[in-house]
């Protein structure tokens, strides 16, 4: 690969100008700047650029150059780093890893002195108290090993025994390192080779070597966590009896951490991680191109052990947690939850929420009106993060460095514990300039890549779970048990129960209208009448007191499906013959000369939630609305189209009786077919299956008639009314009639 920056001999001024012209300088530019500053005698700047290179994804050569700069310039650079002596005990050629580790560690806040054991001598050095390892006196020992170092057979007679014995070979090393050297351990996990003689059969063959290796990784993790966390002690069998002193085995090994090479290798691709040419040439068990990443992750874990991890994520809002600008687009106009972009931002929030669950502190730093920003958290139905998740909420028109200083001060943590996430390059740059201690994550332009950008940042690595985290672990465990139940569900009903579904009736307002119109515009399968309507029409219907618009969101244990169902029904007075027909069709005693029915004009559901009994619950809701309006019956219609055969039998299945059929007068979307009409007297309404919890999320004044009111949570604040029924007044209304091709096609294809 030709590197356009690869022209040395440029002056510092020229290089600095080139660096200033881009947000994140290339590794090549970082290298040139590091070397140029070193030549000029500016050691601090040289080190700064050498460290910047590690974030710029440089290759082995660039890292090697930067590691040289660091080695020469660090002593004079006056950086505040935690010192640590680190022994690299490897079973392959770890010289490159050992050479790059100081660079990676400095980036993680640690100044390391490295000792490297003789090639393949790691066991001997640990076992021999007169070895160089003991003379070195490490604070931490990295066991840089690979699958070839295990004594696991190609096929084990007794897989469980083989794994226990092998795990004990490693835990006994840990024990010696911890007890005799007083050092911490960083164990590289074993990468299961991608070439497997058993093929897919290996997965169901516990005796196969790849299964043994995977089990070994698990057993080592359990041994480190201790029996209280795992329920089993993989190291129990053949560990020498050291329980006289409070043996670490009994409590697990708090001083043992892992670098999960198995996951790193899978992330980049195992064929990339391991290069047989360099294994056979020089016993490189990790392809040289990935040694920088291995050093970087090992350094992150080392930093975590020494308490140098970052603790707090400082989040921008607009175009970071949601799409769009709240102050310009309004609450209804931001992208969150629905649509591809909305789902991308939801996924990012979900990932951040999980970081929070495992102990990362969250702060908000936004240029917004405080009340507006908070309102988004309180009112937007798709917000995954709640105000309660945010330790410090800073939304004001102060510049971001000022806000971030305030956040650090209020939370009582150092600026060097903060990581700033913002989509805006200018904001990132001003924070880099004015608060160099703060780490800045440059979000990519595409929100679909946000989660990866954050996940690739390694310095949130937690040391150990705290007691508070452990309490959360209990919750995780409870959840896991629930999942086991669901996994063993033997009937559909059990499965549905296990989903713990909640349907929320939400108001039709400026927040939901665009999605409702979008559903009306594109739902094909579960759509009884396929009547397409635009924003103005729907808004007009909603404003009519004789009509009912039901909008439902559905969430389950695994996902929030968003707004997925819409019903539009109208109160209609039937007189004379028509009323008689209605009455005769089953309205029983209430057969008067005139009576009202609730006529279901539109009923549709997103294909995402078909087959979950939601339609039965909705039928119950429609009947309840009919009762509230004093209607004697609910009348439904099925207008066949080429795509909606799915619901041809919906009404009879729900207990509706036929009231005759007509020709193809009004086929939805103009498709030919036999229209059918159906009637259900409210007195005949059946009980719904009750597998979905129904919550009325409509404001109190609008809360019409929904079953089980005791389930209502605290009522949300009263929402603003609907916009005037003019299409252009609603944020994304335009997209409803002509939704983006991509978006429409996706849901149409799916359902």
């Amino acid at each position: 690969m030709a590197d356009p920056e690869r022209r040395s001999g440029r002056s510092i001024a020229e290089l600095a100008a080139a660096a200033a012209s881009v947000e994140v300088p290339t590794a090549g530019l970082c290298r040139d700047l590091a070397l140029a500053h070193e030549r000029a005698g500016d050691h601090a700047a040289a080190v700064r650029w050498a460290l910047a290179l590690t974030d710029a994804g440089g290759d082995l050569a660039a890292w090697t150059a930067a590691a040289g700069v660091l080695r020469r310039a660090l002593p004079a650079a006056d950086l505040r780093l935690r010192p640590a002596k680190v022994a690299v005990l490897g079973s392959y050629t770890t010289a490159q890893f050992a050479a790059l580790l100081p660079l990676a560690a400095a980036r993680a806040g640690v100044a390391v002195e490295v000792y490297e054991c003789g090639y393949g001598q790691y066991r001997q050095e640990v076992l021999d108290p007169s070895s160089g390892l003991y003379g070195f006196g490490p604070d931490a020992v990295v066991l840089a090993v690979h699958a070839g170092d295990t004594a696991l057979p190609a096929f084990a007679e007794d897989p469980g025994h083989a794994v226990r014995v092998e795990a004990a070979r490693w835990t006994s090393l840990w024990e010696i390192i911890v007890s005799r050297l007083g050092a911490r351990v960083i164990q590289h996990t074993f990468v299961v080779p991608e070439a497997d003689p058993f093929g897919h059969l290996a997965r169901r063959t516990p005796a196969a070597r790849s299964s043994l290796l995977a089990a070994l990784n698990t057993a080592l993790g359990e041994a480190a966590a201790g029996p209280s966390a795992s329920g089993t002690s993989a190291s129990g069998t053949s560990t020498p009896d050291t329980s006289a002193e409070v043996g670490p085995v009994e409590r697990g090994f708090t001083g043992v951490s892992f670098v999960d090479c198995e996951r790193l290798a899978a992330t980049v691709g195992k064929r990339d991680w391991f290069d047989p040419r360099y294994w056979h040439r020089a016993k490189q068990a990790v392809a040289l191109g990935h040694v920088p990443a291995l050093a970087r992750h090992t350094a992150a874990v080392l930093g975590a052990q020494l308490g140098a991890s970052r603790k707090c994520l400082v989040l921008d809002l607009d175009n970071t947690l949601w799409g769009g600008v709240l102050g310009e687009d309004g609450l209804a106009g931001i992208a969150l939850g629905d649509g591809p972009a909305g789902e991308a931002f939801s996924a990012f929030q979900e990932y951040i929420a999980l970081l929070r669950d495992r102990g990362v502190i969250l702060a908000v730093c936004s240029k917004n009106n405080d009340a507006d920003a908070r309102e988004a958290f309180e009112r937007h139905p798709a917000m995954r993060l709640r105000l309660g998740d945010i330790a410090m909420f800073s939304a004001s028109w102060d510049d971001k460095p000022t806000q971030i200083r305030r956040i650090a001060h209020t939370l009582g943590i150092g600026l060097d514990a903060l990581v700033f996430v913002d989509d805006n390059p200018a904001e990132r740059e001003v924070v880099r300039q004015l608060l160099p201690e703060v780490d800045v994550i440059a979000l990519p332009r595409d929100p679909h890549e946000y989660v990866r950008a954050l996940a690739d940042y390694p310095f949130f690595e937690p040391g150990l779970l705290t007691s508070e985290d452990t309490a959360r672990t209990e919750q995780y465990r409870a959840r896991a048990q629930a999942a086991e139940l669901a996994a063993s569900a033997s009937s559909l009903e059990e499965f549905h129960r296990g989903l713990e579904m909640t349907a929320t009736v939400v108001p039709l307002d400026e927040l939901t209208l665009p999605r409702v119109v979008q559903l009306i515009g594109k739902t094909n399968q579960f759509n009884l009448t396929t009547r397409r309507r635009g924003v103005a029409e729907v808004a007009e219907l909603a404003a009519d007191p004789s009509s009912v618009v039901l909008c439902l969101r559905l969430a389950d244990r695994f996902a929030d499906h968003g707004l997925v169902a819409v019903v539009i029904a109208r109160q209609q007075r039937e007189t004379g013959a028509a009323a008689g027909a209605v009455a005769g069709a089953g309205a029983g005693d209430s057969a008067e000369a005139d009576l009202t029915v609730l006529d279901v004009d539109t009923w549709l559901m997103s294909c995402r939630v078909i087959g979950r009994t939601l339609e039965d619950e909705i039928a119950g809701l429609i009947v309840a609305e009919a009762r509230r309006l004093g209607c004697a019956a609910v009348r439904g219609h099925y207008l066949p189209t080429a795509k909606n055969a799915l619901v041809a039998d919906l009404y009879p299945r729900l207990g509706f009786g036929p009231i005759g059929s007509r020709g193809s007068g009004e086929g939805g979307d103009g498709a030919p077919g036999e229209r059918t009409d159906w009637l259900l007297p409210v007195t005949d309404a059946q009980r719904s299956p009750g597998l979905i919890r129904i919550v009325d999320g409509r404001p109190a004044g609008d809360s019409r008639c929904v079953p089980s009111p005791q389930e209502h949570g605290p009522q949300p604040p009263r929402l603003r009314g609907l916009p005037e029924p003019r299409p252009r007044t609603v944020g994304t209304a335009e997209s409803s009639a002509s939704a983006p091709i991509m978006e429409r096609t996706m849901e149409e294809v799916a359902g």
Binding site: A61, T64, G68, T93, Y278, H280, G289
Partner: protein, 78 residues
Amino acid sequence: MVHERLTQVFREIFSDDELVVFDTTTADQVPGWDSLAHINLIYAVESEFGVQIPDERLGSFTNVGELRTCIEELSSVG
């Protein structure tokens, strides 16, 4: 062209921005050019030029010029 890029690879691998190599430069004339640096150098050359140097040629380079010739042979841009 190849020589310039090759020089840059040498400068990175030996972390010396002023390193100058000639076709006649041999391993014992460059401080730090041991077997480990040689592997790093070969790897960096393969990455930089997008070539794969065959095993049988690995140990046959007696000076920089032979390495350069090998790269030129393997590389389509020559």
